[in-house]
Structures are given as structure tokens and as C-alpha cells.
Amino acid sequence: MIDNLLLGFQTALTPENLLWCFIGVLMGTIIGLMPGLGSTTGVAILIPLTLTLEPVTALIMLAGIYYGAQYGGTITSVLISTPGEAASVVTTLDGYQMARKGRAGAALAISAIGSFVAAIISLALLMALAPPLADLALNFGPVENLAIMILGLVIVVSFAGGSMARGLMMAAAGLLISTVGVATGFSDARFTFGNIDLLGGIPFVEVMIGIFAVGEVLYQIRIGAAEPIKARFRDMLITKDELKRSAGPIVRGSGIGFALGILPGAGSTLASFMSYGIEKKVSKNRRLFGKGAIEGVAAPESANNAAANANFVPTLALGIPGGGTTAVLLGAFTIYGLQPGPLLFETQPTLVWGLLVSFFIGNVLLLILNLPLAPVFAQMLRIPYGFLYPIILLTSFIGAYAVSNNMFSVVLVLIFGLLGYVMKELDMPVAPLVLGLVLGPLFEKALVQTSALGQGDFSIMLESPISVVILALALLMGVGPMLLGRLRVARRSRRSVTESEKVDV
């Protein structure tokens, strides 16, 4: 462990990696800050820029964007009540109310502190948990892998929020998109309709750029913008009382965030909602929630940061993305010719530990950047979106071209941009689609191998104890929330008949 940490520090502390880590977290903060530019979008459109870097340097920067955006997303939530990041949606509730009462600075400060504490706690857990998990996963054969894929898909769907049917439908759509082209293990070209460009399949960086960057721009154009509230330097001071009130929520938020983030498919957005909901139930000041309670900022902001780090547990140890952004990062791994998964810890220790240690450094940089400078970053909110989105569009298309050197990619970005816009407008969950797309080829490979092992008989999945445990967990995850929902509906409908609608999540 000590050796690994030393190796990590040696890698992360080279001037070059330190510089790119700084650039990553700085850009992440700015990207998270911009409404309509989230971490997934940011990572997707900036992958092409890292093509000439060393893989470890590139990943350090891209990961920096990811957790940097968690800090930046808060600033917009607090100042203009528009979440810069999906994971900061709940922060708008109390953060914006605090800002209206002149406590914007305190809200920003507590979220920076909460995020930092959560990051350190979750990183320690990540470093402790990922390697043994990877060790365990080394013994996994196709049977266990298939079970994990099933677990991943179930979690994606059950935690996607909104309607279960819609989530499943979009996950299936993602799986289906992944079948286009010539699959590994088969010689047939599927759903290519004679188009040569489709033989290689639909590459997912293009899909991500389309859905998250172009789709989001189109959606934002229709929504319009809100007026920012100013935050001044001297407002950044928070009182002792506020700090004391936040300690509990920060620790609980970190725990909830990590527990949820570690599950493949459950992202930081869910974690932030969850921790807010729990604080609202346990807090002494629960009646202040929604009116500017600092607990309502501290808890979700700690949770989303802890979840962002925890997302790397399944991503690095199993090669299964924890959420949307880690799915894009997984794509970046493959662009550099790295195969994410349990072997990564053995074959690329420098890369893995360098990356993990860079999270520590990055979060320290973010705390230093965010505590005094949040008001400065907030100035960026003055850049009108009208100037911003043409540049986002340009970067999206040129970036897509740079990854593949093919105009077909550019066309795909536009097509998926339109699809992404329609999905947002119609309230269709995007994350299941993306994860379905990423998991599709892995799922099919595990499926084919398992069927070969069992000579067409899938009951061999029930012969491996590990696979049985994972499948049982999947069943629990899939049916559990539904049963809980039913129970709650039943209880509520007993209390009042009119309120029972809409709980069929």
C-alpha cells in the first residue's frame, strides 16, 4: 500500500502532471460553472485535446475536469439557481435561498469545504477498496462478468430517477445502438444498411458529444437565462455556528455519496438527492430546509463529490462505468489503448496510482482555488450564453472530427445532438442510454462466452457462488425499490388519497 502510494506520488508530482492536474481542475471548475456545460460534456469535448499527452497525464487532466466540475456546478446553483451540473440540482433549493439572504459566500464556502472533506474520505476508501476488488475480479470468468453486467444494468435502471419503464426503454435503446456494426465473435454486420461507415459500429464518444454537448446547447437556447446574484469576497466568511451545523451533514453526505457512488450505474446526482432527503428527515433545523438552510447545501455537495470519487471503484476495478462521466472516461482509456478492468492494477500500477494520488492533489488545489476565488469564478457567469454556445458547437464538431478523422463522426454528432435535445425536452433519462451503449459490447461478449461455456445452457450461472451472490444482489436492487415504492404508496394512500399519485418511481 505504502509502495503504491509512493509510486503514485512520484507519478502525480512530476511538473508536467501537476500542471495538467491544475489545468484540469481549473477547467473543470469553469465547465461546471457554465450552465449547460457539465462534466460529461466537458470531458467528452476535451478528450481530443489530450491525444498527444501521455495516457496518465491525459487521464489526470480529464479526471480533474470531472471532480473540478463538482465544485464549479455549485457556484451556478447558488448564484443563479441554475445547476451547472445535474449533481448540483438539489443545491439550488437552499443554496439560492441563502444567496438571496446575502449568504451566497457562506453557501459557496461550505460546499467547497464539504466537497473537500468528502473527497478526502472517499479517496481513502477508494484506495482501500479498489485494489482488493480488482484482485477478486481477476478470478472472474465470463459467468461472473455476465452477472456483473446484469447487476450494472439493473442498477442503472432502478436508480435513473423518473419512470422505470422509460429508464429501461432507454437502456435497451443504448444496448441496441451498441449492436450496430460487426460484433466481436461474429462475422455478420448488423444494422449497417450497406453503409461502410457503420461497419465499425457507432462510436460512443460521438454519441456523448452529440447528446451532452450539442443536445444540451439546443435545449439551453430554448430555456433562456436568469440573472446572477453577486457574491463578494468578504461574504465568503462563514460563522462558527454554520460550520458546526454543517459537520454532521458533511460526514453523512460523504457516507451516502460513497455508498451510492460505488454501485455501477448510480451516479452522483442520485447521491445528492438522497443525502438532501435524509438531512431533511434527521436535521434539527429541518423546518429551515428550502428557506436557506446551510445543511441543505453541505449535505448534497459532500455527497456528490464522494460519489464522484466512488464512481471510480467499479470503473477502475471492474471496467464498468459508475456513471455518465466515468463512462466517457472509460472511452478515453480505450482511445489510449488501455483496457480498464481488474488487470489494470497489475499491468499499469503507475497509471492507476498516479491517477488516484492526483485526485488528492487536485482536491487540495480545488479547495485553495474555490475558497477565496469563488466570487471571481462567478464573474464568468456574466459571459452571455449567446457568445458561449457557438463556441461549444464549434468545439464539439471539430473535436468529434479530431477523434476519428472522419466526417461521418460529425454527422453522427448532429444526429445524436438532435436526439439528445428531444430526449431532454420530453424528460427521457439520458444516463441509461449512455450506460446501455457502453455496457452493450461487454454484455454481449460475456453472454457469448457464457453460452459457449455452458454449451447453450445458462444455468451454469447458478453454479458459481460469486455469480449467485451478484445475481441475488441484482434482484434485490431491481425489485427492492419497487417494493419500497409500493409500500410507501400504500401507507400514503391510507393517510390521504389525493397524494398517492406520482410515487410509482
Partner: protein
């Protein structure tokens, strides 16, 4: 609350997905779900994914239709861990104010959206003729002048600067062979 038009659009979109799912099942059957030895074949995944899509799209349509009927008695729900949806709607309502800080109405913004999509399509078509850089340069100017109604001169200057930066990063630094089109200038 969703507008009736959005509700119809939602049902229509889901219906399209159902049709795609059904088509995928048919296509998958053509590829073969299992091979001669009874192992998973190339058609298995398309049938599996398409089938799931079809089933859940139909369920979603049913839910949407039912939702439309009961939509009017929608009470505000207290936040608890399971009512994300209600919360999100609440937030959406707040951001969907009719007039934004530039005093633009929803209708005007809808027209902007259509214009941007149109400009993007034309831009991609023009890449073959003008080349990547020139076509996207035109896109930047067109959006600034036609959509955002900014002055010609400042629009051109901002566009040229943005484009030069993009060209330096991608064309020069990353050496991406951007298509030059028929003109072959840039």
C-alpha cells in the same frame, strides 16, 4: 406541468422507439438468435434489446396516456427520497420563466432554436465545398448575426478569433487533417 403538446410529442417519440424495437427484433431474427450448436448467435442481442425496448415503450405509452388523464389533480408533494420527479418539475418551472434576462420571449427562443438547427445542417453540407474551417467560420458568423442579432463587425471579429484558436489547436498543434473541401484553401 407538461403542456398538452409535449405530452403528445412524448407519446409519439415513445411510439417511434417501440417501432424501432420491433424492427430490431425482426432484424435480429434474420441474423439468428442461436447458432446451429444452440449457442448465442449474432441476433440474440438485437432481439433482447429490441424486445425490451418494445415492451417498455408500450408500458410507457400506457403510463403516459393514464398520466394525461389524471394530470390535472396534481398536488405539490413534499420532498422525500423517492419523489425526485416532483422536485425536478418544481425546479424546471422556476427556470422556465417566460421571458429571460435579455427580454426574449419563449416564442423568439423557439425560433432561435430552429434557426440554429438549420444553420448546423447547412454547415455540415458546406464542409464538402468550403472545407471545415471556412464552413464553421460561416456558422459562427451566421449564429451571431442572424440568431443572436449582434452587429456585423464584432460578430466577424469574435468568430475569426474563435476560429483561429480552434485551427491552431486542432489543425496545427494536434495536426488533425481537417477536410479542405472543393476549394482547398484551409
Amino acid at each position: 406541468m407538461e403542456s398538452p403538446r409535449l405530452q403528445v410529442a412524448g407519446i409519439a417519440f415513445t411510439a417511434v422507439l417501440a417501432a424501432v424495437g420491433a424492427a430490431a427484433v425482426v432484424g435480429g431474427l434474420g441474423y439468428g438468435a442461436v447458432d446451429d450448436a444452440g449457442l448465442v448467435g449474432p441476433g440474440f442481442m438485437p432481439i433482447f434489446a429490441g424486445g425490451l425496448m418494445l415492451i417498455f415503450a408500450l408500458i410507457d405509452i400506457m403510463q403516459r396516456v393514464r398520466h394525461t388523464v389524471v394530470a390535472n389533480r396534481d398536488a405539490k408533494l413534499a420532498l422525500d427520497t423517492s419523489s425526485f420527479e416532483a422536485l425536478e418539475h418544481e425546479l424546471e418551472d422556476e427556470t422556465k420563466l417566460d421571458v429571460d434576462i435579455f427580454g426574449r420571449s419563449q416564442r423568439f427562443r423557439n425560433r432561435q432554436l430552429v434557426a440554429v438547427i438549420g444553420i448546423l445542417v447547412v454547415t455540415l453540407l458546406l464542409v464538402n465545398v468550403l472545407g471545415f474551417i471556412l464552413a464553421f467560420g460561416l456558422m459562427l458568423v451566421a449564429i451571431a448575426v442572424l440568431v443572436e442579432r449582434r452587429a456585423w463587425l464584432s460578430s466577424v471579429i469574435v468568430s475569426v478569433v474563435a476560429l483561429a484558436a480552434a485551427y491552431l489547436i486542432f489543425g496545427v498543434f494536434l495536426r488533425v487533417p481537417l477536410p479542405q473541401g472543393l476549394l482547398g484553401i484551409l
